[in-house]
């Protein structure tokens, strides 16, 4: 078959055009703007070098946002995967209503972070609070999202509720691809339930674990919607002698630097740092996958 290059080019064109206009051009403009004094108002934009980058690392808000984003990400990796794994064991057991459970655990994932954030704001501030004071549970008798010490944990809790069902489905797919005869053989050889899970099931799911750990890593690190509607960055806290917002994750810090403070160039510089960190995460993931392929 003779293939005409110009028809191929024509077929590629619509996507390539949108891709270049929406991602590539703004990406390079963005890198340029991160080294300017762009403020969104003044049409004259001038080059300032790396001042925006130097400035951010001495800002209490940015340092705090950075730290709590790492903490939030770490908590989520542990909890989302742990809960997802336990749910997948339940959903692949012989329990009667397992298909209903699977669907039920999965549903929160389909609903946007904005909507869920408002719902959980209500749950934390009204329902759980009322429940806590009615039952006399001390630590619930003030809202968990109103205290800097608990707000990140509350957000992780919601994120786990939202995301664990999705991770569960990835594990379910992995478990189903393991042949039954292996598990049967182990059972006959006298391996009990926990030994079978630890020595056979989990090693055979190694690939799925790599996928889910990086999925939870990147989605937590990029968290914005839930942060915006659940806490909007609050409550306030004093850190390094300055008043800051104690649940403002990095993505939201970028947004509010630009939106509330009109410091567009500085927000852009933060976004570039954000991008570089995500590239590092992806490179680590590619490296791990490559190494596994070599071993296999």
């Amino acid at each position: 078959m003779r293939r005409r290059g110009w028809i191929d080019a024509l077929f590629i064109f619509p996507c390539a055009l949108a891709f270049v206009m929406v991602i590539i051009v703004p990406f390079f403009i963005g890198i340029y703007y991160s080294m300017t004094d762009w403020n969104g108002v003044n049409p004259v934009i001038s080059w300032v070098g790396f001042i925006n980058f130097q400035g951010m690392f001495s800002q209490p808000q940015f340092i705090y946002s950075f730290l709590i984003t790492l903490m939030y990400t770490a908590i989520n990796i542990v909890f989302v995967n742990l809960v997802g794994f336990l749910l997948s064991l339940l959903a692949t057991s012989k329990v009667r209503l397992r298909n209903l459970y699977r669907a039920g655990f999965f549903v929160p994932n389909l609903i946007g972070g904005i909507v869920l954030g408002y719902i959980w704001q209500f749950l934390f501030n009204n329902v759980i609070y009322t429940l806590g004071s009615n039952l006399g549970i001390g630590f619930l008798s003030s809202s968990l999202i109103s205290k800097p010490a608990t707000v990140i944990w509350a957000m992780s809790f919601v994120n786990t509720w939202q995301y664990a069902g999705y991770i569960m489905m990835i594990y379910v797919a992995a478990i189903q691809s393991i042949s039954e005869s292996i598990m049967e053989a182990a059972s006959v050889d006298g391996a009990n339930y926990f030994t079978r899970i630890r020595k056979i099931l989990m090693p055979m799911m190694a690939n799925a674990f790599t996928i889910t750990i990086f999925l939870t890593l990147t989605t937590s690190f990029k968290q914005f919607d839930l942060n915006f509607s659940l806490t909007n960055g609050g409550p306030a806290l004093r850190f390094m002698g300055k008043a800051i917002r104690s649940s403002q994750l990095l993505a939201m810090d970028i947004y509010s630097t630009a939106n509330g403070l009109n410091r567009m160039a500085e927000a852009q510089a933060k976004a570039v740092v954000f991008f570089i960190i995500l590239v590092v995460f992806s490179l680590i993931q590619v490296y791990i996958n490559k190494r596994r392929e070599v071993e296999a």
Partner: protein
């Protein structure tokens, strides 16, 4: 990958060996409790959507005194002067459907051309599409708005605050992953089929539209679901491209503006979230298998 629901999986009595009788019962009870725990937030939304603001403040856990209040609340939202909720619903629908249409057709065209064209440049283009998936939205969002303004003014086609602008943006953001998924699928479509079509006199374009395109259906399901859920729920891109009180609105924007202007009026806010969730949950009930399959396959690739 096998995600059939009916199949009883349990890799050889993974749970509940022959020895213990207690395990199955503990699991059954634990399962139900866990399921209820997961559903409580939805239940609370439903309960409190059928209450007045006073009732909610008085007791957010109790059953509503009058379930018909839910219609009263819905009516208040629909007739609300600040947020055109019904308009936002249809705007969301139009944006999602149009975006899905252009993403799937153009990504399939692009992916097919990239797979079948053996020149070096096509490999390079594919690599650029894949590599760009690392770029987070945050790093392009502010320049994008400015760039859209410049291009829109230049072409005299408004890209900000319009359907065409946001659909074009979704094509740009959605095509990388869609091309990646379709690329992987098309590689396994036998070339002989296309050669036979050519011998029968099909042009290159016709071969694609009448032979290849119908074969892509399973991959399209994944592409439609992944992009559809994302676009329907997306918040930041509509916020920046459409603006928070522009002519065109989406459901997440409407819910946000609602929550912003009726601070702590939970009767209205919760009813608005209920209305926002309803279409997705109904869709999920009917297309559960496809949705789960699409979302899981998308993540693994």
């Amino acid at each position: 990958m096998n995600l059939q629901h009916t199949k009883s999986i349990s890799p050889a009595g993974l749970v509940g060996g022959k020895k213990s009788r207690a395990w199955p019962i503990i699991l059954e009870i634990g399962g139900i409790l866990l399921f209820l725990l997961f559903m409580i937030p939805f239940l609370m939304v439903l309960l409190n959507s059928a209450k007045t603001a006073k009732e909610i403040i008085f007791d957010p856990i109790a059953l509503p005194q009058n379930w018909a209040q839910i219609f009263q609340n819905i009516k208040l939202i629909f007739e609300n002067p600040t947020t055109d909720y019904i308009g936002a619903f249809f705007d969301s629908l139009i944006i999602t459907v149009l975006s899905l249409a252009v993403i799937s057709i153009f990504s399939a065209m692009c992916a097919w051309a990239l797979v079948r064209n053996k020149k070096k440049w096509s490999t390079v283009i594919f690599m650029v599409f894949v590599a760009a998936m690392v770029i987070p939205f945050q790093v392009v969002m502010f320049p994008l708005v400015r760039w859209f303004k410049i291009v829109g003014d230049f072409l005299r086609i408004p890209l900000l605050g319009s359907y065409q602008g946001i659909v074009f943006a979704y094509l740009g953001f959605g095509c990388s992953m869609s091309i990646f998924i379709l690329h992987g699928f098309i590689k396994n479509v036998p070339l002989e089929l296309e050669e036979a079509a050519t011998i029968d006199g099909c042009s290159q374009a016709r071969t694609f539209f009448s032979v290849v395109l119908p074969l892509l259906q399973p991959a399209f399901i994944t592409v439609l679901i992944l992009n559809g859920i994302w676009i329907w729920n997306d918040f930041l891109l509509p916020l920046l491209v459409l603006g928070s009180n522009g002519r065109v609105q989406t459901i997440p924007l409407a819910v946000t503006s609602f929550a912003g202007s009726y601070l702590k009026q939970w009767d209205l806010i919760l009813t608005s979230t209920l209305l926002a969730m309803l279409p997705i949950i109904v869709l999920f009930i009917f297309a559960q298998r496809y949705i789960i399959k699409g979302m899981v396959e998308g993540s693994i690739k």
